[in-house]
């Protein structure tokens, strides 16, 4: 049975806002749907880093966590990570990407990333990364 919002999988995510930044439409819908299915209270989406920053400003939004693709047009995930951490070091940021070579992981860590999800991702890999980044029990 598909999940329903009356009985969330993780009730402790109900007060969380997560921004999904992903340039590929189907992946954006997939990730935001998985988050809703887990019980995340509010999911906001953007198609690239520039749109993410614009939406945060327009909505006066400070997400609890940003779940972001790396390779995107206009502004990529690493630049968004760098900008967000510079203005708000406490914001949680998880990179989801097919870039799994060691130098990419090290670079993301040097820029303050709080988690890393390799694509193709699984529901479990998303759960583990976001709960760890948010400081919630596994």
């Amino acid at each position: 049975m598909p999940p329903d919002q009356e009985h969330p999988v993780f009730p402790d995510l109900a007060d969380k806002t997560i921004m999904v930044v992903e340039d590929t439409g189907s992946s954006r819908i997939l990730v935001s749907g998985l988050l809703r299915g887990l019980g995340v209270g509010r999911v906001v989406t953007a198609a690239d880093g520039r749109e993410a920053l614009d939406k945060m400003t327009a909505l006066s939004l400070r997400p609890d966590l940003v779940l972001c693709d790396w390779v995107m047009p206009n502004m990529d995930g690493l630049e968004l990570l760098t900008r967000l951490k510079a203005q708000d070091p406490g914001i949680k940021f998880v990179m989801m990407t097919v870039k799994t070579e060691p130098e990419a992981v090290i670079s993301a860590k040097q820029h303050g990333v709080d988690g890393y999800i390799a694509k193709p991702f699984t529901r479990e890999s998303i759960i583990n990364a976001l709960r760890k980044a948010l400081g919630l029990p596994a």
Binding site: G25, S27, L30, G37, V71, K119
Partner: protein, 129 residues
């Protein structure tokens, strides 16, 4: 026949598992968006190759690879990965030579997507080929 025919076109178990994890209103728009992704990325990749920009072709393939594998479209994921590597290496001749096979895999994947939507009782109008 394409160079990727030895790879399974898709793994239906991936979408089965996702259907259990996604709210009921998500699967149809997600598959429709994937059909759009395949068509747009394929067309942009071929246009980039025609314009002599192997790197841009590789970036289009990169985006499609992740989307395809997330939904269990294994052959398309492999074909996109191959195009991505050629693009990343700046091998424009290689990208052009492999474009026909890549397009063939895109077409087969779109057909399977339409079958998948029909099998699952999803509105066919949501899938635009």
């Amino acid at each position: 026949l394409s160079a990727f025919d030895h790879i399974a076109l898709d793994d239906p178990a991936v979408l089965d598992d996702l259907a259990l994890a996604l709210p009921a209103d998500v699967t149809a728009p997600m598959l429709a968006a994937f059909a759009d992704d395949v068509v747009r990325r394929r067309d942009d990749l071929i246009a980039a190759a025609a314009a002599g920009d192997a790197a841009a072709a590789g970036r289009e393939a990169h985006s499609l690879k992740g989307a395809a594998l997330n939904l269990g479209f294994l052959r398309l994921g492999a074909a996109a990965a191959h195009m991505q590597e050629l693009g990343k290496a700046g091998d424009l001749a290689g990208v052009k030579a492999a474009s026909a096979d890549f397009s063939a895999v895109c077409s087969l994947s779109l057909q399977r997507l339409e079958q998948t939507a029909a099998t699952r009782g999803l509105p066919s109008s949501k899938i635009r080929l």
